[in-house]
Subunit: 703 residues, 2 copies
């Protein structure tokens, strides 16, 4: 639960006590005490250890009860079994925030879990917020404050806040930051998250004036919707980029629908991050590469990139990398081309990528960059160069920096090489200009800026909900279904109707005669489908007959379907046969919803039919859906793009598909007891003629 | 043209003359002279400059004619217009190999192109092989020899040969190598490739005993099949990894078939690299990351990886990265688990990834790695660790090295961080063990080793060709078609038959009466299709009617089709209407071939129908096809996987599909005059019942 005010002592303590401070330099309790001592923390520092004595020029108290004012944060690094009693003392002493560095809790098994629960009980009783256990601590380079027990040196002050579910990744991140030349504002190791979670810390971290971007290493999120809410609340001013690992850990679930089988944890995280406006990094390196660009660059207005270089190869490589990331090569105006021509030798290539040739020096780099940035057709620029043969890479960097600082468009630099270009690198880092050794990484950084613009649009959107839905009616139908944990095709059709989604007319026949008379009532030709709570995929058991044109075929079909289904699944209880109108032709799509344990209902859209899992032409989104999310889902799938018409396929009723998506998402949102909902296919008629659910599956969560 | 013996002077000259050697330290001619002087080259070194004098303690001759023996290689760095005369002198002097560093040729436009052609004429007349022009030169760190004009320092000696179409990338590569701690054996800048190309150099480079891997930066390949031949000739002993850029440069071609529209340059390169056994790197960084692993590691037997780490986060990150690259986590035997348990504390995680916990020291790393390598279920190992809190990363590296050296399985190491882990990095580099700062890059390196094993299988395969094809008959039919640059459906069916591919029976009707009698002859129901050389996509113009069950429908259909087609395309010349048997139901696939300008015929396989471009369920391969290539194409597409059966879709006749692929590839190989060949759909009947081409398109190259 987020109670931001209770987290204040973690980030602005008046006094910190280290419980378990050690004299022994080989002990983590010694490292913690010295890190805190050396951090430059301006508040009071206290040490507690049963052995007493003095440490770093201060008395070591034998109990936290003896620690003088001010003290409002405890950093506890003692064996697990002693943590709960220590917390009780902290409570008595009036301390309401504690960092539990110690391991030996939940992560080691049942014994540790019990210790963790005992500790939590004490913390709750004493009103203490906990970071950890099993964490490395937190540090703030600007306050400054360091409660970690990592070997020095710590990170340099900077703009990137890093929150991590892994302590080891924290240690690596500090060193990566040092190697790649950016600073860290705050680093928080979350450990087991017995109390405080990544979600709780988003708001307080974004509120930090020194933090310009939040980078997250996540192994999972417990309260998905709260995470989205917190992220959406801050991302307008503070970008968030996340590396979510553990992608391949989730095993296959048993599922009754295509949606249930396909809308896995990964789809849910992707949909959730998009709704939250959180960038998802593919690799650790990419996360920090992109975090720098997000922290330092203005946002581009679009995706048209100018490339400035002093050789052909780097230009082609950059163009490839940019296009692979979905960016476009800018097309320059005649004025820009004229300015470039004035600065460059005749053999130079003026068109994007601009190849100034190997002779180009600092002035030419600067003049060309200026001209490219002034072009209204350029949204951002990548400068890419190996050390120019006749100039120093550093001199070029120095000439570029003032132009980049004046620009309102983002510029990233790829200085190719490693050791020869260190001077250039140092200049660029000091000027807070993102620089990369390899052009592909620079391209990825620019792509992250473009994606952030897109994500800000997503996060600004409001989910769509319709007023004309009959919630009470659906509740009643579900209640009936829950009695035998099954919704019949008649019931699912009624539920859809209650939410304004049209189904093909369908009735249940329990005798051959009834089938015949229903067929005439509905109007021939008709479709027959087996009715059984035990049969999920009806076509697989020969349980569907299409286009029966006369009563005789209907009668034969009735018997035939029952016989086939019984033969295929002898144990299935057959209720009869549904008689359904034969809907007119149209395009067919699948629309489904599934309840994700972390994020609630996830929507799926794509190519329907029986080959859904094979074709995998699918897109996912978070329910309830927004207009932009729906547009994105349609654009990302062939099924969606095809709705606009293709060759001899007529344009279909897109607004109706959008409406079904909105309403099905709303249904899934309103009724978490519907574990899976799937329309497959939704037949979409030509433009203006609507759509009809042809086959519908809903699975109830057993009560 | 490859004449390897004529290239000997480039790689083992007895004497080198620098034509254009300069006294002026700001000139490239000075850098070249000093690089050669400092390189330690053991042969004779001579300088030529019109001004004469002495340079670096040697006389400067005013003409190459004056240069004494021995001299067999010229490095020429003078303005473009003087190169041809200098070459004439070289020829007179008996020099038969020259490196032309100078620019100002083809790359600057028509004037330069003329100079290049003049130069080539002289070279041909004098029997001189040329490297360049517009190149940086070549160097060999072991010979040693350095004819580049790059600012020092040059690369350290090593195992990686680098051949590049871009000189700037050469310069960057030397510096990247220095930064990432591997050496270079040979570096060759190819420039404009007026004579010697990347293909010519593959053999001589592979023959170099110091080269263990060949890395290529390619902007294109001119003689595709020769490149494949050369590469296949060496890759068993010397792996080749290529970065091919310029992916997005090729514009859309006008094409008459789906295959023509979709089988672009990129598909051709991918298919060609696979046949050649060449690994394709996605990025510059990846190329050099993977080159190190290829140079230093034994090959794995399979794709099962053990991960050894000292913390949870790195283990999950590594597992994710490995699985994202298609590798599998190894499952350890009970013996391995027992050995691991003996080395580790009880809270450690013994199952893959093995988390030894933060307390793990060098001995534990070594013991666990040894146990994992001994497990028959482990094909390779990734060791991943941030600096252990209580030990040095360097000490761990030192303990790992002897185990890794003894192993017959590949081991890569990801030491996470940057500056804190430099000691570890230095140890590993000196021991030639691939190490990476980020786990994802280590995973990519292991994946490259696994891919190399796969590629060796591909390169070892023989293309399949059938003897029972009627080449002469096809030649005659094509000759007829060439008269009006068109092959009719009757002709394409005859061509397929001649190559043993069955088509659905089809005849041409030019009157309604003829259509009716043909329908009865073929057997009702039938299909009608418009016949016209001007109509490529018949369904788009209402030119196809299916399942006509009686003569009356056939008659009506005949008129209807002609009317529709005429209305849709008033200018199209209609020849009549084809009457075709209505083939029994089956699965439908597309099989096509297109002539690629670099690589000759490329095959396409996948989901057919009218939505080929939308679904993009396609795989490509090089004709003629091998058994493994066909298996790969089927496995990579849903259309191919589905042939084995899926839900209520019956298993189809896979051997027949394979046979059609073999035979169509052979047809495309035998007849380059067939620019595009496409069967769409090939209807594949249930297992054992064959397949039939339902619709066929062939486009002739205009003669």
């Amino acid at each position: 639960m987020t109670k931001p005010e209770s987290l204040v002592p973690f980030f602005n303590p008046r006094g910190v006590v280290v419980i378990g401070a050690s004299h022994d330099p080989t002990k983590l309790g010694y490292l913690l005490a010295t890190n805190l001592h050396r951090s430059g923390f301006k508040g009071a520092i206290h040490y507690v250890n049963l052995k007493g004595g003095t440490l770093l020029g201060k008395p070591v108290y034998t109990s936290v009860l003896d620690v003088p004012d001010p003290v409002d944060l405890a950093a506890i690094l003692i064996p697990a079994q002693f943590v709960a009693p220590a917390l009780r003392d902290c409570g008595q002493r009036g301390i309401q925030a504690a960092i539990i560095g110690a391991g030996g809790f939940r992560e080691i098994g049942p014994v540790g879990l019990e210790l963790e629960q005992d500790m939590l009980k004490v913390a709750a009783a004493e009103g203490i917020r906990l970071l950890g256990p099993n964490c490395i601590g937190l540090l703030d380079t600007h306050l400054p404050l360091d409660t970690t027990f990592l070997p020095p040196p710590g990170p340099t002050p900077g703009d990137v806040a890093f929150l991590s579910h892994s302590g080891a990744i924290c240690a690596a991140a500090i060193d990566w930051a040092r190697g790649q030349g950016y600073g860290i504002s705050r680093l928080i190791s979350l450990g087991n998250q017995a109390d405080v979670s990544e979600t709780d810390l988003i708001g307080p971290t974004a509120a930090d004036e020194h933090t310009r971007v939040i980078a997250l290493y996540l192994e999972g999120i417990r309260s998905g919707r709260e995470f989205i809410k917190q992220a959406r609340g801050v991302i307008k001013s503070k970008p968030i980029i996340a590396l979510k690992v553990g992608r391949f850990e989730s095993g296959r679930k048993a599922a009754a629908s295509h949606t249930g089988a396909l809308a896995g944890e990964e789809s849910a995280y992707n949909a959730a991050f998009r709704r939250a406006g959180v960038l998802r990094a593919e690799t650790s390196e990419e996360m920090f590469d992109q975090a720098r660009a997000l922290a330092w660059c203005p946002l581009p207005k679009g995706n048209r990139v100018g490339v400035l270089t002093n050789a052909g190869g780097p230009g082609v490589t950059a163009a490839d990398a940019l296009e692979a990331r979905g960016l476009k090569m800018a097309v320059f105006s005649p004025e820009t081309l004229k300015t470039l021509a004035e600065s460059l030798p005749p053999a130079a290539s003026l068109h994007n990528p601009v190849d100034m040739l190997a002779s180009a020096g600092p002035e030419q780099f600067a003049a060309c960059l200026k001209a490219m940035l002034a072009d209204p057709g350029t949204d951002s620029v990548m400068v890419i160069y190996p050390t120019p043969p006749m100039h120093s890479a550093g001199a070029v960097a120095k000439a570029l920096i003032p132009i980049i600082h004046q620009a309102e468009k983002p510029v990233v630099v790829s200085v190719m090489g490693e050791r020869l270009i260190q001077e250039a690198v140092e200049h660029l880092r000091a000027a807070r200009i993102p620089e990369y050794r390899f052009p592909e990484r620079a391209a990825a950084a620019l792509a992250a800026l473009v994606e952030r613009v897109e994500l800000l649009k997503h996060a600004a959107e409001k989910p769509l909900m319709r007023d004309d839905v009959k919630t009470e009616l659906v509740r009643e139908i579900i209640k009936t279904g829950q009695k035998d944990n099954h919704l019949t095709a008649i019931e699912t059709a009624r539920i859809l109707t209650a939410y304004g989604i049209q189904s093909a007319n369908l009735k249940l026949a329990t005798t051959e005669d009834e089938a015949a008379s229903l067929a005439e009532e509905i109007g021939l030709p008709v479709v027959l489908k087996v009715a059984s709570a035990d049969i999920s995929h009806k076509t697989d058991v020969g349980g569907v007959l299409l286009n029966l044109a006369d009563v005789k075929s209907v009668r034969g079909g009735y018997q035939n379907i029952l016989a086939q289904a019984q033969a295929a699944l002898p144990d299935a209880k057959l209720t009869g046969v549904y008689v359904q109108e034969m809907a007119p032709p149209g395009q067919e799509v699948i629309i489904g919803a599934v309840q994700d344990p972390q994020f609630g209902p996830i929507m799926m859209f794509g190519s329907g039919g029986t080959e859904v899992e094979g074709l995998k032409d699918l897109a996912f989104g978070l329910a309830p859906l927004t207009e932009l999310e729906i547009a994105t889902m349609l654009k990302r799938t062939w099924a969606g793009r095809k709705l606009g018409g293709y060759r001899n396929i007529l344009p279909a009723d897109i607004p109706e598909v959008e409406e079904v998506l909105i309403r099905l998402a709303q249904l899934a949102w309103d009724f978490p007891e519907l574990a899976e909902i799937e329309i497959n296919p939704l037949r979409v008629f030509p433009d203006g003629q609507g759509a009809a659910a042809i086959d519908v599956r809903m699975r109830l969560i057993p009560v």
